[in-house]
């Protein structure tokens, strides 16, 4: 009987020692930070080529480059990805599940402004980090701005300002809008109309079409009879492609009206072919063929995406992820999303795709924008050679001034 008690005590002591040892180990290991990145994007529909699998590859490259630059870093990274199917309810379900059950710390990309604005609120409530590259709505850093969100690549204000201003200055002073009927289209139309009017242009009409429309002839006919000099395409992806393709067919350009692609990605130009897209003016913040560094990065990216050319969205995902990892390493913690984003704003940004830049207090990443013209088939030296640089818009002019956004964070 006594023996038994002694035995038991020994066992208990051994357990306690073991537990203490485990605790000690735990303290030593607490310094390792396991970061889980969730790429929430469109994998199967109209934005899958401008984001999608290419986004996941961009995240992978960012992690690879971070680990190469910081071989002794204690930040370990895991990547997950999911398809939000351009539906806000699906996007929010995934975001909730990722954060609540799978321990995701940061959500990246998320094209489609409707989904992005929904995810923005979830991230704010749960104090995680949202690095948006794919969505365009300038509300993400305006009225809906959040201390947990960084909006990296572009937004509707920047597109409107870049393309809109350049065209009005060149005499395109009457506008008709062909607008996708959801958050993004409305924001792009509103921002462009403001730029057009501020520069002395006039809005003569608009029509709002449902997303994923295949036939635009009805709308183009309305645009044609409006006699506007410029038809502004406030839509994206397949909708833009169909509009441009059918505008050529209906003789819109031949009839003296011009098209302004307010959001055209490199992948769209590829899908149109230079024959249909030539002469189109557009604003981007990244072009794969800009310099040696972007070309080298593109080569690496293309190992996983042969035959594709990376878009600015994918470039932004890469740069944003890299900067996030730098901030986590500097802060030595990932737990407080707000603190990580504050650290991201504190550190100057520097990467091979966007160069040096900063993140403003409202979450807006600041870098230059470029006005490109799509090359004529005869000028192109081969696949992917699609843009001629027409103008560079310096970083300080490219994005909406802080005071105009209506972001509460800007007021201190």
């Amino acid at each position: 009987m006594e023996m038994k008690v002694v035995k038991r005590t020994f066992a208990l002591a051994a357990q306690i020692t073991g537990f203490a040892a485990a605790l000690a180990c735990g303290t030593a290991q607490a310094q390792q930070i396991n970061v889980k990145i969730g790429a929430l994007t469109d994998m199967s529909s109209l934005y899958a080529d401008l984001a999608g699998p290419g986004t996941v590859e961009a995240v992978r490259l960012a992690v690879e480059d971070f680990q190469k630059a910081n071989p002794n870093s204690n930040v370990k990274v895991e990547i997950v990805s999911a398809d939000h199917q351009n539906k806000a309810d699906i996007g929010t379900n995934i975001a909730n599940q990722w954060i609540d059950r799978e321990g995701v710390d940061v959500i990246v990309d998320t094209p489609n402004s409707g989904v992005a604005l929904a995810v923005n609120e979830i991230i704010r409530t749960k104090n995680k980090v949202f690095i948006n590259s794919g969505a365009a709505s300038s509300d993400l850093t305006g009225a809906k701005c959040s201390p947990n969100t960084v909006h990296w690549t572009y937004d509707t204000w920047m597109l409107a300002n870049g393309t809109g201003k350049a065209i009005v200055k060149n005499g395109g002073d009457t506008w008709f809008f062909l607008t996708a009927d959801y958050a993004f289209g409305h924001a792009l139309e509103r921002d462009t109309a403001a730029v057009v009017e501020a520069n002395g242009g006039k809005l003569v009409g608009k029509v709002r079409h449902p997303i994923n429309t295949s036939d635009f002839s009805s709308f183009l006919l309305q645009a044609q009879s409006s006699k506007a000099k410029i038809i502004g395409l406030a839509n994206a992806g397949g909708d833009t492609i169909n509009s441009i393709k059918q505008a050529a067919e209906f003789g819109i350009v031949a009839g003296g009206q011009s098209l302004a692609g307010l959001l055209v990605f490199a992948s769209d130009v590829n899908a149109l072919g230079l024959q249909s897209a030539q002469g189109l003016i557009l604003t981007n913040t990244f072009y794969w063929d800009a310099n040696d560094q972007t070309r080298a990065w593109t080569k690496r990216w293309q190992q996983a995406r042969p035959g594709k050319i990376p878009t600015m969205v994918q470039a932004g995902v890469y740069a944003g992820t890299l900067h996030y990892l730098k901030a986590v390493a500097a802060l030595k913690s990932k737990d407080d999303g707000k603190a990580v984003v504050a650290e991201m704003k504190k550190l100057p940004t520097d990467d091979v795709l966007f160069g040096k830049g900063t993140i403003r207090v409202d979450g807006r990443k600041i870098h230059p924008a470029y006005l490109y013209e799509v090359k004529k088939p005869a000028e192109s030296k081969g696949p992917g050679d699609i843009y001629t640089l027409r103008a560079t818009i310096p970083a300080e002019e490219a994005f909406r001034p802080l005071k105009d956004g209506g972001c509460p964070l800007a007021n201190g």
Binding site: A48, D181, H209, S214, D215, K245, S276
Partner: protein, 295 residues
């Protein structure tokens, strides 16, 4: 200028014509669906994917084999139709005796596989396909600019639609086919090879979808999801027309094109839902569809 509901009448004529042109795509596609459902009792959910295959085949033939639009207009339906025949022989023939649901699920699964495979190899943004040289440019009709290609679309689809209707409703072959659907055993007793006839009918329906795909390639974005976007609307057209009614599918296709076209003028935001509103109303008033025979 005369105006109707605040829209200049000239613009309205233009929109009516545009509606008819879009309707001709609906008609071509719903015709194939109606033929397949009417003759095989299969709800062919893969129709959109087969339409997409037609357009993609045209793109691949142009870029890798140098076959132009006109060649593709003949070859793509033949190739995709042949694929359809393989699908019918390997899968569908076992389902005729079962509930409609099995055919629907099988073809829906096939559509997902076909579209997923296409997306994997071709991406989702789309593939460039230029207008054929001979059909570029257009005519100024006074009230609108009519691209030559659109005139061609409406002409061809009228010929194909009414040709098919005539072949099924007014010829001896069509009579055999309809008889085989009603009572296959009896028709077999007359020495007619019913299974071959059914297989060829499915092949023909699929070929019609591919044909519409080639017709669409120069004006719509050629992408793996192009069919998925259209198929739901086309199903609504078939339901409104009356499942399996050939004439119903054709007339409703054109009619709904016009309805949709007018919606794009008066209330553009609703243009992709108006067809479903019409469908709901028709189902309430005439559950068998406008041209369907009540059972």
């Amino acid at each position: 200028m005369i105006t109707i509901f605040g829209i200049p009448s000239a613009a309205l004529f233009g929109q009516l014509l545009i509606g008819l042109i879009n309707g001709s795509f609906y008609a071509l596609l719903s015709l194939g669906l109606a033929v397949i459902f009417g003759m095989l009792n299969i709800i062919n959910f893969a129709h959109g994917a087969q339409y997409m295959l037609g357009a993609v085949a045209a793109f691949l033939m142009l870029n890798f084999l140098g076959v132009n639009y006109w060649g593709a207009l003949i070859l793509a339906p033949l190739i995709v139709g042949a694929i359809g025949i393989v699908i019918e022989r390997t899968f569908l023939q076992w389902l005729y005796k079962l509930d409609h649901l099995y055919g629907l699920l099988l073809t829906f699964g096939l559509a997902l596989i076909i579209e997923g495979t296409a997306r994997n190899y071709l991406g989702s943004a789309g593939l460039p396909y230029a207008l054929p040289e001979a059909l570029r440019g257009g005519q100024n009709l006074g009230f609108m600019f009519l691209p030559n290609y659109r005139a061609w679309v409406i002409l061809v689809s009228l010929v194909i639609c009414f040709g098919t209707w005539y072949a099924i409703e007014r010829t001896r072959l069509g009579a055999y086919l309809r008889a085989a659907t009603e009572n296959p055993t009896l028709v077999r007793a007359f020495g007619i090879n019913v299974p071959v006839m059914i297989t060829l009918t499915y092949g023909f329906g699929v070929a019609l979808a591919a044909f519409a795909g080639v017709m669409a390639a120069p004006i719509y974005n050629v992408s793996p999801q192009m069919g998925a976007e259209l198929i739901i609307v086309v199903f609504a057209v078939v339901v409104i027309g009356g499942m399996g009614s050939i004439l119903g599918a054709i007339l409703t296709g054109f009619g709904l094109g016009v309805v949709e076209g007018l919606t794009k003028v008066f209330f553009p935001e609703a243009s992709n839902t108006v067809i479903f509103v019409v469908m709901a109303i028709v189902l309430l008033v005439r559950p068998a569809g406008l041209f369907g025979r009540g059972t």
